[in-house]
């Protein structure tokens, strides 16, 4: 069939080569590196595989505790962001009317301001010499600045929820937009009060969007290291921060690779479970 085959290779080879070289290969190299004993010698050379990194990983309970804490934080962030985003998506889907596009755009504009600076803005607000403290002192409501507002894990969680809420609204909105409004009328005709119309019609039909929203916040949060760096302080660090330390400060790349691989496998398993729950092809279409 004329040059349909040529077109195939033209479309097939570049993305396959690109992703193979710059996505698959580095991850495989990282996996291989986690079975290396140390950093001595060239990075690309034959080494005898060893489980030494995994042994130290298993014996050091601090890593696992931090991984557990990070997963807990990601759970808290994703659940809060999804719950807060739901009414937003509901508003845009059924109440905003003709201007829904503009309302949605207004929600997303803050995303285009530097992420680092938005996080810093909270620091200016919450810090001991920051806006909230100095305003309260100026108004003589407190004498000493409140210090509990910053440099802990709660501050990290609050900041990340704030960052994800508008983003989490998107998949929920997409799911709600596919709900046929006639279904509400049908439910009403059958005598369902509004609350029941919501719990029996809108909510179940939007569940795939809800799950997608949850994971869209969960995955980046569990791998987060930047926000803890900025406002978490030493008591607010996450699993990602130890990986970063091993690759930048202490340059123990084999152990860092092992830690990183644990996170990768954990995330992939979680997503595989979620994909079973969500009907992915239906979301794509």
């Amino acid at each position: 069939m004329n040059n349909r085959r040529a077109a195939f290779w033209l479309l097939y080879l570049p993305p396959m080569a690109w992703l193979g070289l710059f996505f698959l290969a580095p991850l495989l190299l990282m996996a291989a590196f986690s079975f290396r004993a140390n950093m001595r010698g060239e990075l690309l050379q034959w080494w005898t595989p060893t489980l030494a990194q995994y042994q130290s990983l298993l014996t050091e309970s601090g890593y696992w505790r931090l991984l557990g804490i990070s997963a807990g934080m990601a759970l808290a962030v994703a659940a809060s962001a999804t719950v807060l985003a739901y009414p937003l998506a509901y508003f845009l889907a059924f109440r905003a009317g003709r201007r829904a596009g503009l309302y949605l755009a207004l929600l997303l504009v803050p995303f285009w301001t530097s992420f680092l600076l938005r996080v810093m803005a909270w620091k200016f607000l919450l810090g001991s010499e920051g806006g909230i403290n100095s305003l309260l002192i100026y108004l003589h409501l407190i004498q000493e600045p409140l210090t509990a507002l910053l440099y802990n894990r709660t501050a990290v969680v609050i900041t990340l929820v704030y960052v994800w809420v508008p983003f989490s609204a998107l998949p929920i909105l997409a799911a709600l937009q596919r709900v046929d409004p006639a279904l509400f009328e049908a439910a009403a005709d059958l005598g369902a009060p509004p609350l029941r119309q919501f719990t029996r019609v809108a909510l179940p039909l939007s569940l795939p969007g809800v799950l997608a929203a949850f994971f869209m916040a969960f995955i980046p949060t569990i791998g987060e290291y930047v926000t803890p760096l900025l406002i978490g302080g030493s008591s607010g660090s996450m699993y990602g921060n130890i990986i970063q330390d091993f690759f930048t400060k202490s340059t123990d790349w084999p152990l860092g690779s092992a830690l990183s691989l644990v996170m990768l496998v954990g995330t992939l398993v979680l997503v595989a479970v979620a994909v079973r729950l969500i009907d992915v092809p239906r979301l794509i279409e």
Partner: protein
């Protein structure tokens, strides 16, 4: 949720969230106009000094230019590759189809820190100097799922019979792709390109690992965060970028409604 009876509940929720979302941005705006370098009340005098200093600061402007270059280049590559995958996925049957789909979608799932250190390993092992190019390569990978999804959602809604018709009329497949498929997915490609651009422009977690001596704007900003007196200049630039984005959004909305 009796929103039908009380529509103000949902709309006031929207307004409250909108205010909260814009609050830090308001703080940044205040900061960029405040002559003091800490945000303590009462505010001191207003000044445009930071904006004046911004345009005299070579390093800041260069980092912004670096970010523009990385974003422009990586979003272009990501759009071309994402489009290729989308066309393949909807128009061809082949055995490695699921492998390709997985490769194209997985960057959405792999945590950035994992991809960042893996690419750092690869480039170091191959003795490739870290530069804007290495940052750009990382950004093509994470931009690809977005461009793929945006283009495929447009292409999926389009009748393959049009292509059949073109080929019945004697066009070969490449010509059909160029003359029929490309014009139809062009708007989606533009939107994919814009999305990949914004993903890259503000990306920090990967860039911190992969930027060499030429920092992108977020990387440079990060290095300046501990100097309180340099911060207002950076914030001034961010405010200008923000005003630019907002204008774009409003103009695009105007155009859409004028259609």
């Amino acid at each position: 949720m009796n929103a039908r009876g009380r529509p103000w509940m949902l709309s006031s929720y929207y307004v409250v969230l909108l205010v909260l979302l814009y609050l830090p941005i308001g703080v940044l705006l205040l900061f960029s106009l405040n002559s003091n370098t800490t945000l303590s009340f009462p505010l001191q005098s207003f000044t445009f000094d930071w904006y004046r200093k911004l345009f005299a600061n070579e390093a800041v402007l260069r980092s912004a230019r670096n970010s523009l270059e990385v974003a422009a280049g990586s979003s272009l590559v990501a759009t071309l590759l994402g489009t290729a995958v989308a066309v393949l996925f909807l128009r061809y049957q082949f055995r490695s189809k699921n492998v390709l789909l997985m490769l194209a979608m997985l960057p959405l799932i792999v945590p950035f820190i994992v991809l960042g250190v893996a690419l750092l390993l690869l480039f170091s092992a191959l003795h490739i100097e870290r530069s804007l190019l290495t940052v750009g390569i990382a950004h093509t990978v994470v931009g690809l799922p977005y461009t793929f999804l945006i283009v495929i959602s447009r292409l999926a809604g389009f009748d393959p019979n049009l292509e059949e018709a073109a080929m019945d009329l004697g066009a070969d497949y490449l010509t059909t792709l160029r003359r029929i498929v490309l014009p139809i997915i062009a708007p989606a490609m533009i939107s994919a390109w814009l999305t990949a651009f914004t993903v890259s422009f503000d990306e920090f977690a990967l860039a911190l690992f992969l930027a060499g001596t030429q920092p992108t704007f977020p990387v440079y900003l990060f290095s300046q965060l501990r100097f309180a007196n340099r911060l207002p200049i950076m914030i001034a630039l961010a405010v200008l970028m923000m005003v630019g984005s907002l204008t774009l959004v409003l103009v695009a909305d105007r155009l859409r409604r004028a259609d």
